[in-house]
């Protein structure tokens, strides 16, 4: 086979591959309004009808705050923002500080997992059954919400899950057009992911709280391929929760 024919074949195969990857719903790209962050995103914005993982290096690193800040522009489209709060700790005022209107917020609180509350009395088997039931209910709720076209964005905290669940979420958002944002711990970085985007957030240590706090954001994985290896630095003003672009 000559080189020209080979190149032609590769091009046609590439076109077929792109066509097969075409989603069932129209995917839109919504800019976050944070220019430094948009610059490192593969399509210079966050896609709708996708699963996005926000990996928090540690607790208290503002990954969830950044997720809320990035989700706000998506609310220009119809649909609500659903927050799945299985630990019953979500404080809506903090999300409001990122520009999220509370009237568009749907709060879903499945059975409280035993993480933050002491386990109820009973045998170990019964406690494990309860935890398993609670996790199943959370996953079921995420999937049901992801299937609903009346929802625009879902934000949920998900520590551990299986690839089957992630695949089901992916299929659900492809049909419904919902964007699922999962806040996950750094332990999942070593695991494969079905997410469209995986974003790693960490904050720099600062000894002076009067100085601007910096968040370092890195895109670890993208289905469309990484734009470049750079990171974005976002600033968070003291005494204000709002995240500003670097």
């Amino acid at each position: 086979m000559s080189a020209a024919v080979r190149a032609q074949t590769i091009q046609s195969l590439r076109r077929q591959l792109i066509a097969s990857q075409q989603k069932q719903t129209d995917q839109q790209i919504i800019t976050t309004g944070l220019s430094a962050f948009d610059a490192i995103l593969p399509q210079h914005g966050l896609p709708t009808a996708s699963v996005i993982e926000w990996i928090s290096e540690n607790c208290g690193q503002s990954a969830a705050s950044l997720a809320f800040r990035a989700a706000v522009p998506m609310l220009k489209l119809p649909g609500c923002l659903a927050v799945l709060d299985d630990r019953h700790q979500f404080h809506a005022i903090a999300a409001q500080a990122q520009g999220m209107p509370l009237a568009r917020l749907l709060l879903i609180r499945p059975t409280c997992l035993g993480k933050s509350s002491p386990p109820s009395s009973g045998s170990g088997v019964r406690i494990r059954q309860r935890l398993s039931l609670a996790e199943n209910e959370s996953l079921w709720a995420i999937e049901q919400t992801a299937r609903c076209p009346g929802v625009r964005v879902i934000i949920a905290w998900l520590d551990r899950t299986t690839s089957a669940v992630m695949r089901r979420l992916q299929l659900a958002v492809e049909r419904s057009g919902v964007t699922v944002m999962l806040i996950r711990p750094s332990a999942v970085l070593s695991q494969p992911s079905f997410a469209d985007l995986r974003i790693h957030v960490r904050s720099d240590r600062t000894d002076d709280l009067n100085e601007t706090r910096t968040l370092v954001v890195k895109v670890e994985r993208s289905r469309q391929g990484l734009l470049h290896e750079g990171t974005a630095v976002l600033r968070q003003q003291p005494w204000r929760e709002q995240i500003l672009s670097g």
């Binding site: 607790c59 208290g60 609500c80 005022i93 509370l102 609180r109 009346g150």
Partner: protein
């Protein structure tokens, strides 16, 4: 525009009893109704009747110590019997009123007055029979309106009819009302009616003594009434003449004018709680007009939640719907078989079959379903009940089937967890001790019959869809309502909520989470739910409003603050804390933000909040309790 008819039966317990006695051939007119003695109080579990008894105990404190009068006929009233009076005192007071001066005048007027008045008869109050009779009376009125409901307050004495669009069928609203009045009088009832645009308005109009109209009474009747006022009693003749001159059994308020008609009425007609009425009395607020002119933002801090809701209903800000009474011919579907059913697969199949039947009946009757109740009849005659609700009334068999199956699955799973044995081996692990069999019975006992009953509701208005829109088949509000119904069925109605900010300095109380689908579906107002769904789903120009909070708040707020060990506090500031089971060394702590509540608050808060940064860069929200001096971790800036 909505039009509602309220029919009030004044002094309902007495009226019901008098009619019953007349039917029995007992022409008593002087009767009084009293509560039962404490040892004979109605058994618990009668639901609405319990509410009535509790209300009477709050309203008449004398009923706590023994039987007390709750209602008296006019003849008994003139003999000194008053509601709220202890029974023993009433019996002693129930002597004929004989005054020499008045007796001479009455002798001159008529022979009737000269006759010896009869003694007062006392009867025990039967709240459940009062309610049952009222519900039975509602059946007489089914032909006038598609929806007939009972008043939602304790001690109901009125019926509510939704006559929107019905007036032309009867030749106008006045003809309709006169026809209703005629039917009720033929049945032996006396009543007052009002037609207006809201439940609050019609109820207030019918429950107000026509004080305004007494100003038009002739001076003779007024002076006659005042003559006996020094004795504290009015004669029945004068009262009767005044009433006949001024009492209007039917009031019809033109559309859009009911709020103005409410303004001169007393606040007692506003269905407020007793505690709220006391507060308003202290503030000198006597009329509904004064109540409506109060600034709305201050009301939640002064009145109860229900009081605020009532005021909003009076002002027509919040819509209130009538909760329909179950029909004598309900929409129901039954299944029974000699081959019993067991297991989730059988139940799913049966429920699918029955929901299809229900949907067919809903279509034929041109109504929708907002709630469906399901009864499983197990062996030995035990019945297990379930209920499923939807956000918007629906005619869809699929949605009803899904809601019921989700409810059944979650109940069965919970029941199997609560028992000590695994799901497949549960046997009679039910709490029959309180008389209510739980769904655990379904796990072990075969089911021989299933019955579904639908609560009908008006079909919600359909939305015209854009044929040429790219997403023409999607209506976010309708999709959301289906999602909320499914989530509420499986997770519980209190698991799906909307959030509103609250003016409270305590961070844990700064937001109020309201279930979208109340546990008791009868409390759900379709109009309000539609408005909430629209707010949730549709973007508006106000969505980009900036946050008003000037101080940072953590995304994660712990339900219970975690104490920081005193050993970790050095030089008055904490240096180390535990979060999610891991230790964090703190390197910086910000200046304090003081949050304090007023001294009158039930659970006061005196705290100095700080942001604390750990060596890993993690940020926490900690506070020092100014009363105890202890440090706590309250939030994490996730």
């Amino acid at each position: 525009m909505k039009r509602l008819l309220c029919i009030r039966f004044p002094n309902w317990p007495v009226q019901r009893l008098l009619r019953q006695l007349r039917n029995e051939g007992n022409p008593l007119t002087a009767i009084a109704v009293h509560t039962a003695p404490a040892r004979n109080s109605p058994k618990s579990g009668q639901g609405d009747s319990d509410c009535d008894v509790q209300f009477i105990r709050r309203y008449y404190p004398a009923s706590l110590n023994g039987p007390a009068i709750i209602a008296a006929s006019m003849d008994a009233w003139t003999r000194g019997v008053r509601p709220g009076m202890p029974l023993a005192e009433a019996r002693s007071m129930a002597v004929p009123v004989v005054r020499k001066s008045s007796q001479k005048r009455s002798e001159r007027r008529s022979e009737k007055s000269a006759q010896q008045p009869t003694a007062v008869e006392f009867f025990e109050w039967q709240p459940h029979r009062d309610r049952a009779e009222l519900i039975q009376t509602a059946e007489l009125l089914r032909r006038y309106a598609p929806i007939v409901g009972l008043d939602s307050v304790p001690l109901p004495d009125c019926l509510l009819l939704d006559v929107t669009g019905c007036a032309p069928l009867f030749g106008g609203e006045s003809s309709l009302a006169e026809s209703v009045l005629r039917d009720l009088r033929l049945a032996g009832w006396s009543c007052r009616m009002a037609v207006a645009g809201s439940v609050a308005a019609v109820r207030a109009l019918t429950h107000t003594d026509s004080a305004r109209r007494l100003t038009a009474v002739s001076s003779k009747a007024v002076s006659g009434a005042h003559t006996d006022a020094r004795n504290g009693r009015r004669t029945p003749q004068q009262l009767g003449s005044a009433a006949e001159m001024t009492e209007l059994p039917i009031q019809i308020i033109p559309p859009g004018q009911h709020v103005d008609e409410l303004r001169p009425l007393p606040v007692e007609a506003a269905r407020l709680e007793l505690s709220d009425l006391e507060i308003l009395q202290h503030l000198g607020i006597r009329r509904i007009g004064q109540l409506l002119s109060l600034p709305r933002e201050d009301l939640p801090s002064r009145l109860s939640d229900k009081g605020v809701l009532r005021i909003q209903q009076l002002a027509d800000v919040i819509d209130e719907d009538i909760q329909p009474l179950p029909e004598a011919n309900p929409i129901a579907a039954d299944w029974s078989s000699d081959e019993p059913a067991s297991g989730m697969n059988d139940f799913r199949y049966i429920l699918q079959h029955l929901t299809e039947q229900l949907a067919g009946q809903l279509l034929r009757r041109h109504v929708a379903c907002s709630r469906v109740s399901c009864e499983f009849r197990c062996a030995a005659g035990v019945t297990v009940k379930l209920q499923g609700s939807v956000v918007k009334p629906t005619q869809s068999a699929e949605l009803l089937h899904e809601v019921l199956c989700l409810k059944l699955e979650s109940e069965l799973t919970l029941a199997s967890l609560q028992s000590q044995l695994p799901v497949s081996a549960v046997a009679a692990a039910s709490d029959l001790s309180n008389g209510s069999p739980s769904t655990a019975l379904l796990l072990s006992s075969p089911v021989f019959a299933v019955r579904l009953v639908a609560v009908s509701a008006p079909i919600p208005p359909s939305r015209q869809k854009d044929l040429f829109s790219r997403s023409q088949h999607l209506v976010p509000e309708e999709e959301l309502s289906s999602l909320i119904a499914r989530l509420s069925s499986r997770l519980g109605s209190d698991a799906v909520m909307r959030v509103t900010p609250q003016a409270d300095v305590r961070p844990e109380n700064s937001v109020h989470c309201l279930p979208l689908l109340p546990p008791d579906a009868s409390e759900a107002s379709p109009g309000n739910l539609d408005a909430v769904l629209q707010l949730l789903a549709e973007p508006t120009s106000d969505d980009s409003a900036a946050a008003t909070c000037l101080h940072p708040r953590p995304v994660r707020l712990l339900a219970t603050p975690i104490p920081i060990a005193s050993l970790d506090v050095v030089d008055g500031l904490p240096r180390r804390l535990l979060c999610d089971g891991r230790p964090f060394e703190l390197c910086a702590v910000s200046a304090a933000e003081r949050l304090q509540t007023g001294w009158w608050t039930d659970s006061p808060c005196h705290r100095d909040y700080h942001q604390a940064v750990a060596t890993t860069g993690s940020r926490f929200w900690i506070f020092k309790d100014l009363v105890t001096g202890a440090w706590f971790l309250h939030g994490v800036f996730d």
